[in-house]
Amino acid sequence: MSQPAVELDGIWKRFPGVIANAGANLTVLPGTVHAVLGENGAGKTTLMNCLAGVYLPDEGTVRIAGEEMRFSSPADALAAGIGMVHQEFRLVPTFTVAENVVLGSAPAVIDQDAINRDVAELAERFGFEADPKRPVWQLSMGERQRVEILKALWRDARVLILDEPTAVLTPQEAVELGAVLRQMVAEGRSVIFISHKLDEVTSFCDEGTVLRGGATVAASINIADADAAQLAELMVGSSSTPEVSPRAGTPGDAILEVDGLTVMDSRGLTAVDDLSLTVHAGEIVGVAGVAGNGQRALTDAIAGLDTATAGTIKIESTDVTNASTRRRVDAGLAYIPEDRLGVGLAPKLPITHNAVIRSYRTMRQGPFLAWERARAFCTDLIDTFSVKVGRLDDPMASLSGGNLQRLLLGRELSGEPHIVVAAQPTRGLDVAGVAAIQNLLLDQRDSGTGILMISEDLDELLALADRILVMSEGRIVGEFDPRATSRAEIGEAMMGAS
């Protein structure tokens, strides 16, 4: 057997209050696509960041082609042949594709035509199209990912790490990515493919390593021999995820009616395309779909943070299409935004300030705010939703992710909404946090509220939703009854099977 391209041995990485990696191991052979599997928070990304020079591990060794390394920056790692494509791309939007590719390893004097030609040739060699002269800000997410891969290949990376690469890809692009990866391993390179989706692992990867709780629970499994159920059990552990018992709701009147909605994104492209949906009282309508198919624009438009260019949005027959966010709240809307810290909360301000964002207008005394009432409200919220906090004057950011989300959800629900729009409400939370949030949403539904829930986690939607709508390229492409549909059917629709 040839020498491993990468060996990570006993990697520990601690952050304040969190142990991200607890003695993780990984061995990647040359000429293979190696999956790193694990649930959200299993420590996959941290481990890869330790390999790619973003973090220095606290303990453990990193060996590249048998030689021990200590990377103090991504550039060090790149020089040793390790390239990583992060979930958030590291590209200069105003630069052209070619400029981004050669940045940091360009000849001292740059001949624009020559680098354009060289980059085009490189792209061609790996079988993907890229116009080297186009500025990156004009590209789609999938195209940007290709630029990131080209960056690593330009530096002749022997090992390419891809962090959840398919999250931003259309099904077509995902297939193309697979071909590129094959070409790379055919040249003797290695690819590390981080994922928590079993289906893509089985179609792309040769071997797999499973992480749980920051440690390796199964190393270098041959994927072809592996059983999907077995992999899944390794990922989630023997104690299965707490069951959320779906209780069939009894839908009432239509609460939210979206008709022919069209929303443009910041680049002037259609994000939501002539979309219609209805949510009734007492039901959870789930929206499934690959990330980046217009979900965020849809929820933002309903919440009033994005402008509808066409169509109507009605809450209990009140037209709120172009209404202010305040009028929507008055009409009975509550919103759990996807970007909690950026849109729902003010992380640097005290907890009290955050707790009353929705209700401070009811606490006025002339021009002044009745702070005693605000504090009482906040204390009440913390008790009711069991939020763990230090002092009320501590900044919001001092709360953990689960507590942040509980406070946010509690705050939104305390206004007794008729319709809740929840975007990725459980993402990034630990198992207990997920269950708590899910139960709160179910209780809310049972008390007669309509809920529109967007999630990338199909299993969550299957467990909670009364109806599942599948969104692709800004449109609803299918509606399913979760009790009478298999995962595969919905998955097919998500992939825009047309």
Binding site: D339, L349, H353
Partner: protein, 355 residues
């Protein structure tokens, strides 16, 4: 290979900012002493003269307080804009235009009784200052034009506007051909309250306390904090960012303009292009040193006022009054260094470069 890295401490040092200010002050005095020595000036004599003439007697304290008034108001103006994350670099121009507007009021009401005229002039000054920040405020609120540059540019325009008036429409007929603007009406002078300290000192304290109280207790102040801390969250909460940006810029301009009015009715006899005297710029540094807190702004303004007043006194020793300007800048740089060092640890870290 080893290298120095800065590591952020997990808990910032408590009471760090006052300490940083005093370290900055010490740093400035130390560097100042070195400069004076190089130039062959007497260090101790210079510093003791500065102390005597700025804080050494009740008379000099009064002079310092008068000087601190425009600095504190300018600093307050800057810190109000900063609650929304905005930089009002235009306090200088707003002071100038505020004083210009007050002069206009003075020309209209030349025969009004003193108290009425003073109130009218101060009001006019505030409105003038607000008008001078209206353009940058609108441009920022409506199309996102950086207020840093627009306010900065308008400083130079305000300066030239006064120069224009001075040579034209408002030229003093009794100035013997010398281009100066007619003096403001005599009755429009703020009374003295203690030694030479004028009523403006009390007014400034009241204004600062009122703002500190209002921003902390009012619904408007709460909305401002949300909007300044997280714009998307504010929009989500139904707070109009456009209106908040415009409101805060107008208010900031009004406070700076008001400072111009106080200068005109307090220490200056007539409008001239030096009436702002760098207070607008110094106010930014004052506000930064006070971490944008109104009460801190008042204290730092007194310290800066003392340095400026002290600086004027050392000319008679044959020492350049530029020392005061240098000291003010060095206090800031010293404090920056001190506050960074207090929130970071410097550590030597091993570094192996990959082969």
């Amino acid at each position: 290979m080893r290298r120095l890295v800065l590591q952020r401490r997990e808990t910032p040092t408590r009471g760090g900012q006052p300490a940083a200010f005093f370290i900055g002050l010490l740093f400035a005095l130390l560097i100042g002493a070195i400069l004076l020595t190089i130039a062959g000036d007497p260090v101790l004599d210079t510093y003791s003269r500065m102390w005597d003439r700025s804080l050494g007697s009740s008379e000099s304290i009064a002079t310092t307080l008068n000087r601190a008034v425009p600095l504190a108001l300018a600093g307050l103006a800057v810190s109000i804009a900063a609650t929304m994350g905005l930089w009002n670099i235009g306090a200088e121009g707003q002071i100038l235009f505020g004083a210009t507007a007050a002069t206009l009021v003075g020309r209209i009401g030349a025969d009004w009784p003193g108290p009425v005229l003073i109130v009218a002039m101060l009001l006019g000054a505030a409105i003038g200052g607000a008008l001078w920040s209206l353009g940058p405020g609108l441009a920022r609120a409506e199309i996102g034009v950086s207020e840093i540059i627009t306010t900065l540019m308008l400083n130079e325009v305000a300066l030239r506007l006064i120069r224009y008036l001075q040579n034209g429409a408002w030229k003093d007929p009794e100035g013997f051909g010398f281009p100066q603007i007619e003096a403001r009406p005599d009755q429009a002078e703020l009374g003295q309250i203690w030694e030479r300290a004028h009523l403006g000192v009390i007014i400034a304290i009241v204004v600062i306390l009122a703002f500190a109280w209002f921003l902390n207790r009012s619904v408007w102040g709460y909305e401002l904090k949300i909007a300044g801390s997280s714009p998307n969250t504010a929009t989500y909460a139904g707070i109009s960012m456009r209106r908040k940006i415009l409101g805060v810029m107008l208010l900031s301009g009004a406070v700076a303009g008001f400072a111009g009015g106080i200068e005109l009715t307090g220490t200056a006899a007539r409008l001239n292009e030096n009436i702002s005297n760098g207070y607008g710029f110094a106010g930014i540094i004052v506000a930064a040193l006070a971490l944008m807190r109104p009460s801190g702004v008042a204290l730092v303004a007194v310290a800066f006022g003392a340095v400026q007043v002290g600086g004027l006194s050392i000319q008679s020793l044959g020492v350049s009054s530029a020392v005061a300007t240098i000291l003010q800048a060095l206090i800031l740089f010293g404090a920056i260094g001190a506050s960074v060092l207090s929130s970071y640890r410097i550590r030597l870290v091993d570094r192996k470069v990959a082969a």
